[in-house]
């Protein structure tokens, strides 16, 4: 017996959906010639990966962990600190929401065959007016980050 056909929302589509809901989100979507496990193994190790690819972050420290839900502290090169709630509950999905909801980051990926990875990176200030004004900044930051990931891999 065959079931009724069922559609799904993979992590890249899920990130597109979230980006559409965040005013002024910067979004970059690319394919990497890297197997998914290697790509996600790097990106999801936030303490190692984020300072390596994001020029606006000097360090990330995991302050607490409840399974795949983390609280991390990010420190900018200027010394400014910010706390983020992080959701890593699904393989290929990372949602980081700054305390006070000032800043949101989504990193997501799906395998594109055995040797490639389809990824998406989203950053936004989820405020209706300010968020839209900051869109060019978000877009530039996201491009820099993706370039950094490519370099690091």
């Amino acid at each position: 017996m065959t079931e009724w056909p069922v559609a799904s929302l993979d992590n890249v589509r899920r990130a597109r959906v979230l980006a559409a809901a965040l005013p002024g989100a910067g979004v970059v979507e690319e394919t990497f010639d890297v197997p998914f496990d290697r790509y996600w193994g790097f990106v999801s190790d936030l303490e190692r990966s984020v300072p390596a690819f994001d020029p606006h972050v000097r360090s990330i420290t995991v302050e607490s962990r409840d399974g795949d839900r983390l609280v991390v502290r990010a420190v900018q090169p200027s010394g400014i600190r910010a706390r983020f709630d992080v959701d890593l509950t699904d393989d290929g999905w990372c949602l980081m929401v700054q305390r006070g909801r000032l800043f949101t980051v989504v990193m997501a990926a799906v395998p594109d065959g055995p040797d490639r990875t389809r990824m998406i990176h989203v950053e936004a200030v989820p405020r209706r007016v300010v968020g839209r004004l900051l869109r060019p900044v978000m877009q530039r930051n996201v491009r820099l980050d993706v370039r950094g990931i490519r370099r690091a891999l």
Binding site: W4, P5, V6, S8, L9, A21, W93, V110
Partner: protein, 177 residues
């Protein structure tokens, strides 16, 4: 390729928790927006998969983009499910219609089959126009009455009856073949 993300199938989530997520999502809470998408994905995936078939994943995405862009206009969170259902059906039909049109099956008097025993539901659905699939999904998968289905699709009840007859006939032809 394995699908990584929100996995169907599933049933409609409990209303109370979803209503709280709606309120938080309306205030711009990104974590609540994502949680709401996760909660609703199995149900939206069932509607879009059955109507849009190979374009079902696109239809799920477009459904959620439409839902989230208009979420602030939803005054009563209890109305969420019906509202999402309506958008999902519309987006699924739209996605399916972007493909080449399918040949309609001729009317034929046959007994109503039970879709749960279908030999190949997908193959039978593929032979139907998207609007006919929508009627079949709402009647036979979701259990709506003909009047409710007509209201959801914004078509006369007679249109639902004729589309349903054609859709079920097509299913029956698959069994007979």
């Amino acid at each position: 390729m394995p699908t990584r993300g929100v996995e169907p199938p599933g049933r409609f989530p409990p209303l109370r928790g979803v209503q709280e997520l709606v309120r938080r999502a309306q205030r711009g809470d990104a974590a609540a927006v994502d949680a709401l998408v996760r909660e609703l994905s199995p149900y939206v995936g069932r509607i879009c998969g059955a109507i849009a078939l190979d374009d079902g994943d696109d239809a799920v995405q477009e459904t959620f983009i439409a839902v989230l862009r208009n979420l602030r206009s939803l005054r009563e969170p209890a109305a969420l499910h019906g509202w999402v259902r309506r958008i999902a059906v519309r987006e699924a039909v739209r996605a399916a219609r972007r493909r080449a049109p399918v040949a309609d099956v001729p009317d034929r008097a046959v007994p109503d089959p039970d879709p749960s025993t279908a030999l190949d539901v997908r193959d039978a659905l593929l032979r139907l126009a998207p609007e006919h699939r929508a009627v079949l999904v709402l009647r036979d998968l979701d259990g709506f009455s003909e009047a409710e289905t007509a209201e959801l699709l914004a078509v006369p009840e007679g249109t639902v009856k004729s589309r349903l007859h054609r859709a079920r006939s097509s299913f029956a032809r698959r069994w007979a073949s």
